[in-house]
Symmetry: C2
Subunit: 249 residues, 2 copies
DNA sequence: CCAAAAGTGTTCTCGATACACCCATGG
DNA sequence: CCATGGGTGTATCGAGAACACTTTTGG
């Protein structure tokens, strides 16, 4: 979406075109990680209305009077899913004309603009809210079906952002249980970033050296093998790293 | 285009608030670097209308019928400034209710939302378009006056983005002359990132090793001292670095 | 000749990578 | 006792920081 070297900018000092009227939609790219199956998932809903009725799409809504963009994004979450922890941030705004088929029917009418948000939730605790008619499901990012509008593009954009966030900020801890093993953390990273982002023992060493993971001393056994220590994310110890780039990976 | 898919499950349960109607504004944070004086500059314009008449503000406009967000951003550029090269990308969308005083006068009326764009232009070639009444000027980022709306916040956000862009991508070359000395490049970096981001000789060594700067062989003298080589940015040689993070700094 | 700017080289440290190896548990 | 997963240690390589040094110009 960046534009490089646009050499010609057409000057338009001619008389004023009328302003466009907008409805503003918010669409959420909601990710979760199924660590058991090592899959990165996106939440999709089945549209019940035109346009694109019976297509899968991102959960979205139109912004209401008195409602902020962010609140609209939270409202979507609340309507689709029950979670205790989540990470949410704005992604990008898509707003060219004629991207919504509804605009063509009444060509001088209202425009539709979409502000997309990106969210990360904990898969194990996320409870989908299925009403009687509407379909709602987690889809592996590798197997996204045809989507309404340009939602595929939005997911691609969101996925890129998720990878960056994971590498540069401690979002992972917003989405892990209070205590977790280093392997849980490692699985999360490999699932999102791909198999070959780092060796486990190096990952482990790097993170422990940083000093914001505290060992609770509690051990958990998962089948065979040596029991693993449960760790906690220590917010205070992390403080010095805030705003500093490149903490992870 | 995006989707206002309101799947309203909530339709039956909650009573539906009316949707908000929006005008959509685009505001540009336009940066340039005055290498002669080592200053990072932002373009500001004096507002001629209410609200915030006679306040400095970011150059902006309202989106017209049939116009894309990006085109609106380019139109602002064209109205305020003449340049041959620029870098432009979307920044963030600010859209809380009541961020624009116009909303309060007619409280159930239209909302104002701002999609901000971030631009970088070449200071030496940028020609400001001053119409008879409107004030327009470059301000050093260190000396921004009181601004209309939440424009100060937008600039802060844009400045952060600019720093990241410089570090991780070759925006600098969009804004340097076709050929430039390594010192020109270095000055640009120090001005934006701060004095202590790197030693000159290390900066130089790192960049040359990457191999996408080609020496034209031409030398330029600037007063006393050994003449400097003019370099070119070699787009083809840069290709392998595309999408790879962390190329610079 | 000398100051100033451009450009080169050297040393040191630290982090990333790739492993090999030890430890504790369940079956 | 051995397979399995958890955890520790070590050798190597290269990138980055600091800084001394050389080269080429103008005055």
């Amino acid at each position: 979406m960046p534009a490089r070297n646009h050499n010609k900018i057409s000057n338009s000092t001619h008389h004023q075109q009328p302003l466009a009227d907008f409805k503003v939609g918010v669409d959420n790219v909601i990710f979760s990680v199924d660590t058991a199956q090592n899959r990165l998932l996106v939440l999709l809903v089945m549209r019940q209305q035109e346009p694109f009725s019976n297509s899968w799409s991102l959960p979205g809504t139109l912004v209401r009077q008195g409602e902020s963009l962010e609140n609209a994004a939270y409202r979507i979450m609340a309507e689709k899913i029950k979670v205790n922890n989540l990470y949410l941030e704005q992604l990008y705004t898509f707003g060219g004309p004629h991207r919504d088929p509804r605009e063509q029917t009444n060509s001088y009418g209202v425009r539709y603009l979409s502000v997309s948000y990106f969210a990360l939730v904990r898969f194990e605790e996320a409870e989908l809210i299925a009403d009687k008619v509407a379909g709602i499901a987690w889809y592996p990012v590798k197997q996204i079906p045809q989507l309404a509008f340009d939602h595929h593009e939005i997911i691609t954009y969101g996925h890129r952002r998720l990878k960056n966030k994971l590498e540069y900020s401690p979002v992972a801890f917003d989405v892990l249980p209070e205590t977790f093993t280093l392997n849980d953390l490692y699985q999360l990273y490999t699932t999102v970033l791909g198999e070959n982002f780092s060796d486990y023992s190096n990952f482990r060493a790097r993170l422990l050296k940083l000093g914001f993971l505290s060992d609770t001393g509690i051990k958990v056994s998962r089948g065979a093998g040596r029991p693993a220590s449960l760790y906690k994310f220590d917010e205070k110890a992390f403080a010095p790293f805030k705003d500093k780039p490149l903490v992870f990976i």
